[in-house]
Amino acid sequence: MNKFDDIIERYFKGETTLSEENELKKYILSSDVKQNHKHLIPLFGFYQAETERTIPEKKVRKSKIKNNRYVKWVAYTGIAASVMLAVTLFNFNDSKDYAVIYGQKVNNEEYAQKMAVEKMNKVNKILERNLEPIESIGRVKATIRTQKANMERTKELIQSTK
């Protein structure tokens, strides 16, 4: 009698320890598995596959943002504002011909532009983060609208039955 015959019998009776079960899983999924135990490969194969299954990325979020006019408006306004701010701060064609970065006058146009781009990227990141709660608010508002509509229908129904 194979050592695993005993473990398999006890496994199906729910009498094995976790370490015995781990040992059994390794054996069943190995190339050493005996012919009379091969029918258990799909079972332990399924368990193994399950342990590797991870939570999918939520792709819906992006498409929802695309379809939400309000969110789009906030995003575009924010980006436009940041671009205008950068242009105002770093306009080298005016008479002053310098930018103020971290409280210091900067005459180097290339450096100033680089800093402006970095700032804009930061603004964009902040906007991206801030869009998530806005999206949630949108969902809550939609739910409230549905509930209100349901309440209205219920009221109408009550009145019609009076």
């Binding site: 199906f12 009776k13 009498e15 781990n22 799909p42 194969g45 399924f46 342990t51 939570i55």
Partner: protein, 169 residues
């Protein structure tokens, strides 16, 4: 519990929680929402989580309760029978469906909710009987009995399936 501990002890379980919720709700999107809902609820109660002895079992317990509530709310919660009925595959279907792993999945999905939950907690997530007992609020003996019944049913179905495949080959 601070944010670091929360991340290490609770957010780390997100994949396990997703699979667990999926096994109860039988719906991937609903399972994803359940993970978000649970994380949010636990985050709001993070000050009390420091007192919890076995945080993993506690999270499983919370997720199960949340999923069962969701099922009740959606009125999808039907009486779970202690008996499992399996459809006999017709020969045509049988020749088409030889993916035994998919069959195993189907057999497990058809187990009563308690047995399905226990077999997953033990055989997929490798939890101790004591942890499962705490998470499901049942005795350790009840866990062992249900685990054994679930495994026996799965085995019976696998053997039955195996015999049918052999007969058709």
């Amino acid at each position: 519990m601070d944010s670091k501990q929360f991340k290490a002890q609770i957010l780390e379980l997100k994949d396990k929680m997703y699979r667990f919720a999926d096994s109860i709700l039988c719906n991937s999107d609903a399972a994803m929402d359940a993970v978000q809902d649970l994380n949010l609820k636990l985050w709001e109660k993070r000050d009390q989580l420091g007192d919890v002895e076995n945080i993993r079992a506690f999270v499983y317990k919370s997720m199960r309760n949340l999923c069962l509530d969701k099922l009740r709310q959606k009125k999808q919660f039907t009486e779970i029978s202690n008996e499992v009925f399996y459809d006999e595959p017709d020969p045509h279907q049988h020749t088409e469906n030889r993916d035994m792993v998919a069959k195993v999945k189907m057999v497990i999905e058809k187990l009563p909710e308690l047995q399905r939950t226990i077999i997953r907690m033990r055989d997929v997530d490798g939890m101790e009987i004591g942890e499962i007992s705490f998470a499901l609020s049942i005795t350790e003996n009840a866990v062992s009995v249900n685990l054994s019944r679930a495994r026996q049913k799965v085995r019976e179905q696998i053997l039955k399936e195996q015999k049918m495949i052999e007969a058709y080959e």
